[in-house]
Symmetry: C2
């Protein structure tokens, strides 16, 4: 039962003329300042193997950059490609190359085959665990790739649903996964889910899992959760080329000027090289070298992530505290308590997410549009709101979380009034 005083409280909040943005998972300036070392002078542009990082070449990345990402991903450097500043671009290009050329081992099976007349991706489909990352879904939508929602359970995508779908439908060529601290639910994939994904029997022989390990090092608690390696599991399952792993330093160093990596089987790395070499002579090796010199090794990266955590944790705690005090016990309302990553998933009673976001906007609080975490921007239950507490200051977060909670309570009371 909502106390009608919330309407008055909310009206008072609107009077304050806030202007708060919790819409995107952007690091705060204090987090970016942790990597000020990257802005310093680079004394020497020569890589360990003598490569002049200023000149052309090296389409797979500098050896020491590949080794660094290899140590972060627990993979040999030879299976890691280090590229430019955007892992999203690597995912996009992976799908585009598959559409244009087919995937490794299937050169005569372009993913675009059979799309005559329609969008280039219109004859294939991707599985999309939901809620998920809107930019993943935007790639599929732009290319006309049909998206199929798959429920996320506590341990990851519902394997029963996934197994059934991929077994029957050869047009299902791919699947998006954010295996650790998923955007936005915070889900940590369980060992049996990883194994199950690796062992799936798929009607499509050229099925690929795009494994966006965006939050691998991004813990919010003392515990460094581990998700088993999908690449290893796929190799053991006899599907070595199924997994393509993506990672970046976007939320380790600079969001817009970090370094991104792709990791996969040797056959997939060769496939990537053959196609990316047509696109470019190589990525920016100077930024790779700067990152290697600054980040040094895994232990140093983990130390840096501890400092990120020290800045982020109080913001997540503030959200938790406001939601707890305002929303506890409300029927149909829940929210994630993530152990890592950048988001809180606020679940409203069905049909109230859009209204809550609109109300929050009236109070000057910008949230990710309701539905954004679902393919085509359509949350079938209109029940998920993605909260991104990283960028605003702690005071602002507290205020914004309270405002969102109030907005939700107002939305609930409006519905009660209408019944």
């Amino acid at each position: 039962m909502i106390d009608q005083s919330v309407v008055a409280d909310f009206a008072a909040l609107k009077q304050r003329g806030l202007k708060l943005d919790m819409s995107r998972g952007k690091p705060a300036p204090e987090q970016l300042a942790l990597s000020a070392g990257l802005l310093g002078a680079l004394e020497d542009a020569r890589a360990a193997d003598g490569t002049d990082a200023r000149n052309y070449g090296g389409v797979l990345g500098l050896p020491e950059a590949r080794a660094l990402f290899g140590s972060l991903l627990d993979l040999p450097a030879s299976q890691v490609v280090v590229d430019g500043n955007s892992s999203l671009a690597l995912m996009h290009d992976t799908i585009v190359f598959a559409l244009l050329y087919g995937v490794a081992g299937h050169p005569n099976a372009r993913w675009s085959a059979g799309s005559s007349g329609g969008a280039v991706g219109s004859s294939i489909a991707f599985l999309c665990p939901v809620p998920g990352y809107d930019r993943h879904f935007s790639i599929c939508e732009a290319l006309g790739i049909r998206m199929i929602n798959v429920p996320l359970t506590a341990g990851g995508p519902d394997l029963e649903v996934v197994s059934r779908l991929v077994a029957d439908d050869p047009s299902i060529k791919g699947m998006w996964c954010v295996p650790k601290y998923s955007n936005p639910s915070g889900t940590i994939y369980a060992e049996d889910v990883v194994r199950g994904l690796a062992e799936l029997r798929t009607a499509a022989p050229d099925f690929r899992i795009l494994w966006d390990d965006a939050y691998r090092m991004h813990h919010l608690t003392e515990r460094k959760h581990e998700v088993p390696s999908l690449l290893d599991a796929c190799t053991r399952a006899g599907n070595p080329d199924r997994a393509i792993v993506f990672a970046s330093t976007s939320k380790i160093t600079f969001a817009g000027a970090g370094v991104a990596a792709l990791a996969a089987s040797p056959a997939n790395v060769a496939w990537w090289q053959s196609h990316v070499s047509v696109r470019t002579i190589g990525a920016d090796k100077i930024n790779q070298l700067r990152h290697v010199r600054y980040l040094r090794d895994r232990a140093h990266v983990e130390g840096l992530m501890d400092r990120h955590r020290a800045l982020l944790k109080p913001k997540f705690d503030a959200v938790e505290q406001e939601f707890s005090s305002q929303l506890s016990g409300l029927s149909g309302v829940s929210w994630s308590r993530p152990h890592g990553g950048y988001f809180v998933d606020l679940v409203t009673p069905p049909g109230l997410a859009k209204r809550t976001v609109a109300l929050a906007q009236e109070a000057g609080i910008t949230l990710t549009p309701a539905g954004a975490a679902f393919p085509y921007g359509k949350d079938p239950d209109d029940a998920h709101i993605r909260i991104a507490p990283s960028f605003p200051s702690l005071d602002e977060i507290t205020l914004a979380a309270r405002g969102v909670a109030l907005a939700l309570k107002v939305a609930i009371s409006e519905r009660v009034a209408h019944v």
Copy 2:
């Protein structure tokens, strides 16, 4: 008539065990050292408009980076997109976006339409002035885009041939151009050619000219040759969206860690933005900011290019001197005397380019494979050898140029012997 002593001279050269590489247009270390300022500390990562260059966003580039390229390209900043380190990638993605989505103003006419079964680009064609840049041709070849050779005349592509082809064939969707100091011929497009290209009546309504202005500032003489703006000419001709211009600082600052730009009509910029936004949240703005702070303005860039010229000119002079003294008066032999750019085009009697390159390799001199300057690597006359004198030292260039000249003379004498 070849003096048979060349065979002995060449044998002596082979004994020296040279290891010289003139295969690619790479800047020399001394040239890269000119931009050491880019390796220094970046005092402040905030752009003029307050943008934090470290964070996400800005898919069209930092305003000041767009303004700088605008001043170099004589275009308003609003028509310039500044991206990552590779203009080749921008060209690749332009063609890929056109295949996937169609070009601006023609959203329902994907360039891939009608390619059912074959390569994604198999139903369209590009005009390729020859000799030209091998990496342009590699993009078309990978995508299955049919390439049609067009002769380069002294003032650019043969307009009569071009006009006839594009008037009749709606499958011709594009054309490659390197308008100034062309790779490898050094051709400078004449004003009437630029106007003619802008005014072409094309059977394809969605025809595009990819204008790779790679050597715009890269003069080898006192005279700064000017090529009229294709964008302006296209606008005047009523074809404002026909031209897409590409440029980069790869041969101004760092070959592998520079900044690249795309310039086009407002409609084309909007088209680019809509598709690139699906691919990435934005390019590396830190490197853009470093470039703006280091390069400052057009006058400063021109001063820097003078210093490049001071390093490059003696190398081109050495090639000229060796070729002159060794090859003058030989029937069917000629070479370009470029006023800018990175290459010399050595023309052999028909059928001798491959043999000359092979002989040079025997003497430890690596050249770009004969034929590389033509689509599919096939020089119909087997007569062009691309000489890239930028990277090796002056002594090495002298030696290598003499070796290539000797190799050519040996190839000629072999033929005489066989007649």
